[in-house]
């Protein structure tokens, strides 16, 4: 290969790595041979020699929840653009044991950085005792932890949702919350609560859900019997879906009798009955930010304390617009 181009393998290496000190002519000649022979460098050897694997590790919940799945692909795309491979390990649950084990598997692969899509409040604990020097970024982790975090501003999103309902004239807004050990769930509760308090509205105790449509349905069965529950903010779209069905079955019309808002803007939510007002999160942006932070840390060598917060956006649809016309309108 090297002798084919009439140079040393070192020069080939330099061409491959874009070193500055190579004559343009030589570079071109080597490049030509590379292309012609279809040569591909061996990643393992490169990793061994340089200590750089050009691989990022992703620890993700093995869920098909819309957020985590979207984020994963966002990270993969961004990593690819930045020249990194992506190795994934799934964890089934939050327990520190699993996260620890997943991280160990990834470090075994000598990944250069770690993205953890494990949006549990307990995640930082598990992340705390990592081998130093390994850049980590948590997605939706506890911002109080000492690892850099990329989050969507859940508080803001919940506030948008709540204020949207309040400004439509509802006296207060009920809330179906996500599981309390999820960071997002907490943020949404707190945004909702603060919007209510700021408006001087009554704060009813949030109902406990677990993101599933079933839990939304069950909460809905309760809420349907509360005449005062005229505006409801569900912490995600799936729970809102269950809620919609419960309300429907109890004969409470949405939005005429009850207004509903969800969170996530899953691709389907625009086709619920009725179409769901919800909060959209830019997961691709999250992925990009994660990779950006990781790459920065890799470049600086320093563990930045950065925190990227991405603003969510309210998507208004019919489920929250009581005066939006007849229920058959689009």
């Amino acid at each position: 290969m090297a002798r084919f181009a009439g140079v040393s393998h070192q020069t080939v290496s330099r061409v491959l790595n874009n070193h500055p000190n190579v004559r343009e002519l030589t570079r071109a000649r080597v490049q030509a041979v590379i292309d012609q022979l279809g040569y591909r460098p061996n990643t393992a050897a490169r990793a061994l020699a340089s200590g750089k694997s050009k691989t990022l590790g992703v620890v993700a919940l093995d869920s098909t929840l819309f957020g985590p799945a979207s984020t994963l692909w966002g990270i993969e795309r961004a990593a690819r653009r930045a020249g990194y491979f992506v190795s994934v390990v799934s964890v089934r649950s939050i327990d520190r044991q699993s996260v620890r084990e997943a991280v160990r598997r990834l470090t075994d692969q000598s990944v250069e950085g770690l993205a953890v899509i494990a949006p549990f409040t307990s995640a930082p604990d598990a992340l705390a005792k990592l081998p130093t020097g390994m850049p980590v970024v948590a997605v939706e982790g506890d911002p109080e932890g000492d690892v850099p975090v990329v989050t969507v501003d859940q508080v803001e999103g919940a506030r948008l949702a709540t204020e949207h309902l309040l400004s439509a004239g509802y006296a207060t807004v009920f809330h179906i919350a996500g599981p309390p050990d999820w960071q997002e769930a907490r943020g949404r509760v707190s945004g909702w609560r603060s919007a209510l308090e700021q408006a001087g509205a009554e704060v009813t105790p949030p109902l406990a859900g677990n993101w599933s449509a079933r839990s939304g349905y069950e909460a809905g069965q309760v809420l349907a019997q509360i005449p005062d529950a005229r505006a409801i903010f569900a912490a995600n779209d799936h729970m809102a879906l269950g809620l919609l069905r419960a309300l429907y079955e109890r004969g409470r019309r949405v939005p005429e009798d009850v207004a509903v808002v969800g969170f996530d803007d899953t691709p389907e939510s625009g086709y619920y009955i009725p179409p769901l007002t919800t909060v959209r999160q830019d997961f691709a942006g999250v992925g990009r930010a994660v990779v950006q932070l990781l790459v920065d840390q890799l470049a600086n060598g320093a563990r930045t304390e950065d925190r990227v917060v991405i603003k969510p956006k309210l998507i208004c649809r019919r489920s929250s617009m009581a005066d939006a016309g007849p229920p058959t309108a689009h």
Copy 2:
């Protein structure tokens, strides 16, 4: 490390790899040192020396569609159990260029085997010219191709759905199909068609959808105006969701006026209005089978022509049960 245990690094290597010719005592001593020092072997070095990376590559559509996402996690879990790492590359679309590029990235990482979750009819083309010797398994690929394939029996699933409706007394069943370049979509069309033909029922032209709720909604707007369309089989749950809304808006009650069946059994489909009869696929099983085939090929060295077909299962819910009681029943 080796000298710490008073043996050569060679013996350490043997212990690590469970070679037979190590005295039990020595093994124990070395193992103790390993545990105590928290030693972890370097994957890159191992890969370089042995040529085995213990990594499987997954090429997946960067979609959050339920099927692909579930399959990915199924593969990851099975690979982990089998002692393999998983590296993923996403592709945004089917074009051969993307798939080729994705595969190249993975082979660069010297993965030992490849799983391709790119259920397009054109995928086999792109897979055809791989470096020989690299095991590949396609998920939902064209069974006519020459790569081993793991599929859910789409034809059977569609037949189950269609026959379920026919046996409920409907004269025929309309179909909203998925995009024609998807293998699954074709299989579902053909199962549906064959069930109809076998029953001597009229075969109406399938409506073209693209898996999205929107496309189901649009198809529904057409179907709602066809009085004869009293039983509809949508090729996935999301399209069924859109369909349900279109029917609802046009005042056609489900299941009283129109029966609907979907496909996938997404976690939400039991909470649609009304709950959706659908076909469940065992994606975890698919993942297991994929890894199994890959590992087998790795062991045999041979490129097996295996084909694993997983049977789907009909999940009956209210959307197809006209006589199931009042619409408020669970």
